[in-house]
Symmetry: C3
């Protein structure tokens, strides 16, 4: 009780202006009308009209801030909640988007909490369709077999400063699952990149350990990716390999490549195209999978904070030994995105 009163007294003394300099409230509301059909997940399902959230970017709101501590040192934080704008439902855990605190200085940045991995940062920078949800890359790779974990809990991360265009980042995420008989597992992710003017090239590595009865169930990802901005168009692309083990025995590997092009075709209008091909080569005979996907999209920039968009995504899956059809996913979306 008394605590509340004191808090209110402090509020009165500090004033609103001071309060507002320490935190920024921000977000994105993105919704579209469209049609979706997914015969990969549900064979026989029909195309239906939907109102959905996050055609371009997942709807979110958050709080973030940065404090100058003097001597070049800074403290910062970011808390970001994801939700479905079509229903108002929470999309996963409370601050699924990010929940982190960091200290930065000449030495770089050290961060604690839940956040995107360094690997995810490189995939994002080189993703097709401006790294939006319309990109076919992640969905197609997941449909072939699996893709990397984009955000991790219990993470300690370090991001280096940039030296002559070179920079790097590494993150370890503790699974905190040690028992009296088994050691704890963890995720490790790192990124090295070179950025100079219109060019970006980078290498990413991510190893995801999971506990298993008979040994380790691990996934290991490697990525070589880049982008080049020609002015009239920007090209992005990458090549990713993945290896999967169950109980320490390899069960398969997955090779994926993707590219994208985006171009400003008129004032306030951009068009985007992206393509991805992913093959899962199973150790078990006859279980190979091939998935391919593409997206064609355009957006109309209404302001710095708002744009309207249209996009069509198409993913096909087939058995890569027999060529047997395993379904397709299609999405047509016409929507609007607003940032605040």
């Amino acid at each position: 009780m008394k605590k509340s009163l004191i808090a209110l007294a402090v509020l009165a003394a500090s004033g609103a202006a001071m309060a507002q300099s320490s935190v920024q409230l921000y977000g994105i509301v993105d919704a579209f009308v469209g049609t979706t059909q997914d015969t990969i997940k549900t064979p026989g399902s029909k195309s239906q009209t939907v109102v959905e959230s996050g055609g371009l970017k997942s709807s979110r709101w958050g709080m973030k801030g940065s404090e100058d501590l003097g001597g070049g040192l800074k403290a910062g934080f970011k808390l970001e909640q994801r939700f479905k704008s079509d229903t108002g439902a929470l999309d996963g855990v409370n601050f699924k988007g990010e929940s982190s605190i960091n200290l930065s200085g000449n030495f770089g940045t050290v961060a604690l909490g839940r956040m995107g991995t360094p690997y995810d940062d490189l995939r994002g920078k080189t993703n097709a369709i401006a790294d939006t949800n319309l990109s076919p890359v992640g969905d197609t790779i997941k449909n072939a077999k699996a893709d990397y974990t984009d955000k991790t809990d219990n993470t300690v991360a370090y991001v280096s400063p940039t030296f002559n265009g070179f920079s790097g980042a590494v993150a370890v995420s503790f699974n905190e699952d040690k028992t009296d008989k088994l050691d704890a597992t963890s995720h490790t992710s790192l990124k090295l990149q070179y950025a100079n003017g219109p060019l970006l090239v980078g290498y990413g590595y991510q190893k995801e350990e999971a506990k298993a009865k008979g040994g380790a169930d691990d996934s290991t990802f490697n990525l070589l990716a880049g982008s080049y901005d020609f002015g009239v168009a920007k090209l992005v692309g990458g090549f990713q390999t993945a290896e999967y083990t169950v109980a320490n025995a390899q069960v398969g590997d997955q090779d994926s490549y993707y590219f994208g092009v985006q171009a400003p075709v008129a004032k306030n209008i951009n068009v985007y195209f992206g393509y991805v091909n992913s093959k899962y080569d199973a150790v078990k005979a006859g279980d190979d999978v091939k998935a391919t996907g593409y997206t064609l999209a355009a957006n109309y920039v209404l302001s710095k904070r708002t744009d309207a968009y249209i996009g069509y995504k198409n993913i096909k899956k087939e058995n890569d030994n027999t060529g047997a059809d395993q379904g397709k996913y299609t999405q047509l979306a016409v929507g609007v995105r607003h940032a605040f």
Copy 2:
């Protein structure tokens, strides 16, 4: 990782003032001490002392904003979370109150997401007790049989401009439940109204489809309602009909009428009275129900943002064939409402 750093850099550049012009944080905290008894739901239950949330308006917090896009075009959004102020618990889904994005201009407004229906807007405007939770109207109609759905997910809505006092709105909400054998269902809601000075009259229609094995389980609502502000008092009232089908066969209909009066009786003091009568006429013999309810309330306006209130709500339910008592609901509330 790197993404966060970039975001922080953007924050530093934009400054807090700019950030604050794009979003407004708002809310209502409403709590009361009182007694409640509900022998309709729980026969034999006793009256007990409670601390509850939302005597007048459901406690909420939200974010909203509007952006001028030029040329008369605007973009806007609203995200509103409901909670119980007595326990801090979330009341339903994350943004149960509203989760929407809209574009508006000379053509009217188009909105996407979760929001109140046009029908609900007319019922709200003509509801007794200033459309607060103390109103007996909705609770009594629900106790007789059922009432309309006030907010819908996956909604596309259009609100017309006003022409000489006339305006209208229509919304379609997609249930996104199409299967390989059954078509998708939806909710449709519309409103036509005429407002001129102290007078408001309107008509509302809402059809709620639900999927059923043997056919459709539908509810159809019609509302004729209005209000007139005499200055010394404001009168509101309406007449609502509802028809219910199960597996395409009509199971009953429900007629309800309600009225309310509110008057400023002294400086900063208003008194309110509301009455509602709802009869459910079942196709099945002997199952007719009658429910009547009334509320007497007063509020003391402490400021533009804060008022104290007292109210008493009484609902009685009986078998409309035999007159047999089916219980009552009573609530006495003394509370305070604060908006921010």
Copy 3:
């Protein structure tokens, strides 16, 4: 629909400046890297590396405000959500930290909702390690048997003004569990304190009723506690007794004492020590328990809003009849806390 449009219109008219004067967005992000081991809860468990939330203060965000109603009267509110900064997960109910509304004036303060109890306020003011989560006091007492409930729902509270250093507070929390056969139960909490310059002494009482088949399962807590600030160091301490009944029969009582010292040892550096001893004397022979705990900690103040810290907490539990070891809890934490 139309409601939203009206709301947006109001927003445009009021402007952001006015909006920001009525609510303050605030919070704490606290995360640490460390090791934890708990063989009290899980015998045989090993020490493991963790990233956790809230080494000093539970991570939180909230909204609060105060409005001057004129004539010395004020309205205020506070809504506070707790979360885990290491995962972004919600820690309990939506506004677990606080969900309250209050009116205050010359008569004192009356508050409604969910909030900390007056008893908790006194324990907090006299808690070791500056009332942070590193304090051994609560954890040790809970491990011996049980501790008081720090926050209650459905609460009506009154906080008196201060008369010559004396003040008091009382709160009643309704469990709202009346049935047709059993009366409702409730929690009652009160506090009396005297504060004068460097001295604070206080008495707290809290009775927690729970419904039981054979009678009442009650817990009654009494606390005598104080603090004295010598300038070079601040001492805190208290003595707490607890009595537990099951079905109206006493099952045991628990005596606990604790003390702490904190001192500014250098510019921007503080060190802290706290100790607690708690004995549970069971009516049933042979079930007596003794738990002791201590914490050694230090923090480095980086700014008014940010500090780095290190702390080590150690709790031991044993059978107080036989002296048999019942496990230990240890935690080492190196972290950072940032308030916004």
